[in-house]
Amino acid sequence: MAEGLLTGTIGDQACSPVVETQAALAGAGRLGSRELSRTGHTRWIRICHWIIAVSVLTLAFSGFFILMAHPRLYWGAVGNDLTPALLELPISRNYRHGGWQPSIPFFADAASPVSAVRTYDILNENSWGRSLHFLAAWFLVVTTAVYVLSGIFTGHARRDLVPGASELRPRLFWQDLVGHLRLHIQPTAGGPPYGLLQKCAYFGVVFVALPLMIFTGLALSPAIAAAYPILRDVFGETQSLRTIHFFSFVVLILFLVVHVLMVIMSGFKRQLRAMTFGN
């Protein structure tokens, strides 16, 4: 842990475009030469990284199966095949299946809500899908909590993940973005200091996307929603939660793709070794 405190190793590392050397040197300037030589990721970060990685992949896999059972997204408290969808995804045979008996209204007025009997045998893998999703969620929730709290209390988040005030300049963002788009990715040893966009990506995943994923997921539970109505007030009702949960998933998958790409381009074997065994 002392090592982590000294060098300020951080969650994940991957890439560092050439334009980042300035920021990298600025970061390194705060560290003594002895600490600088001890780059890499501390043990707790490596453990958290891989538990979260496996959990997220399992959640993405099971979550996709769960979504296939009802590939329609809505906004608000209510959404089903008899109400308009925000988005319909052609990802299973359930997409616009049309297997319904005629609708029967509940009330006399023309705008009455209706009911209809489903005659179609939908694809539904939620028996194992849901249980696997929640099992993986246990690992994600506990590990993310450990990671976020440790990150805050060891100073690792402030030191390595939060972009410094001097870095938050449009010109630097532009430079870093152009550097990435031109694929000027330099081989790195693994670990901080990180580039500007890299910091933003890690910060966004750790402190925004994962917590949003976890809280919208928890709030989807009828038991938790009843116990903590504040979740509904903050994040919205069932179908809004489900839609936010889905778009957070999309953002995380996009991050994952870029993250892995950057790892490959900055020295796949060395990076993998650094995140698994330290240096």
């Binding site: 329609r72 509940f106 939620n126 028996s127 696997l132 929640f134 009828p222 179908q239």
Partner: protein, 256 residues
């Protein structure tokens, strides 16, 4: 049991730890759903235990206004007398057909198991109990949701009329189709857990579980068993055999 046992906070703490440790050994006790050695079922038991340890037992689900009542689909068994339906039971289906043609006037709900007075109730008997009407959200495991108004008698009222024995821990519902399910006593005594005979101001329609279904508002829709025939109060957990959710790969606890 130590005769001089004194309950101290330390002892309570140790007991708590022991029961927390019991999570990992789920299946050894009949007060929890069995895991059959399946890691997914172990996760389900962990979730169930965490729900009981961490959340208040009787928080109320949100109730909506009449204006918010929405359209709702009918899925699963939508006619227990239809042999094409996957949970069709031939004998019960024929009985259901006969009861339905008589307007369910001969239907009776049997209350059995660990109660002081086993017996049965007609629809008129249930309607004589004080009723509860609630406009709540039905959340289906498939991903959809709907809001409807449900009218019925709190399950608690009926169970108390029958006299719940102090050792009782679970309440199991046997319907006319082959889709039995059960809940624990805390959910059974929840004020919003009702035996619903009315929906949106009318008699409960057949596709939604006529004549009576249970409403469990703090769990997923599939726990709200339709087409009730028998209610069995039990001391120990029962997986309800080959038609129960567990043996079909589904979590028994569905609060998430």
């Amino acid at each position: 049991m130590n005769k001089k046992q004194v309950i101290t906070s330390r002892r309570t703490f140790i007991t708590g730890l022991t029961s927390a440790g019991g999570l990992l050994l789920a299946g050894c006790s009949k007060t929890l759903p069995p895991t059959y050695g399946n890691v997914l079922r172990m996760g389900d038991v962990l979730t169930y235990k965490a729900r009981r340890l961490l959340l208040p037992a009787q928080s109320l689900a949100k109730e909506y206004t009449h204006r918010e009542i929405s359209s709702i689909v009918a899925i699963g068994t939508t006619d227990p007398a239809d042999p094409r339906q996957s949970a069709f039971n031939a004998a019960n289906g024929a009985t259901y057909d006969r009861l339905r043609s008589g307007g369910f006037s001969d239907w009776r709900l049997s209350i059995e198991g660990r109660v002081a007075r086993t017996g049965s109730y007609s629809l008129a008997d249930l309607k004589r109990f004080p009723s509860r009407t609630q406009i709540t959200k039905h959340t289906c495991e498939e991903g959809w949701s709907a809001i409807a108004e449900w009218t019925g008698v709190p399950l608690r009222t009926v169970l108390e009329a029958a006299g719940i024995l102090s050792t009782a821990r679970f309440v199991n519902f046997y319907p006319f189709d082959d889709a039995p399910d059960g809940i624990d006593m805390l959910d059974a005594l929840h004020p919003q857990t009702i035996l619903a005979y009315g929906m949106n101001g009318r008699d409960l329609p057949v596709p939604h579980g006529a004549p009576v279904r249970v409403r469990v508002e703090t769990q997923m829709g599939y726990k709200s068993v339709k087409y009730l025939q028998r209610i069995v109060v039990a001391d120990e957990f029962d997986d309800l055999g080959k038609f129960g959710n567990l043996q079909n790969g589904w979590s028994w606890y569905a609060g998430i």
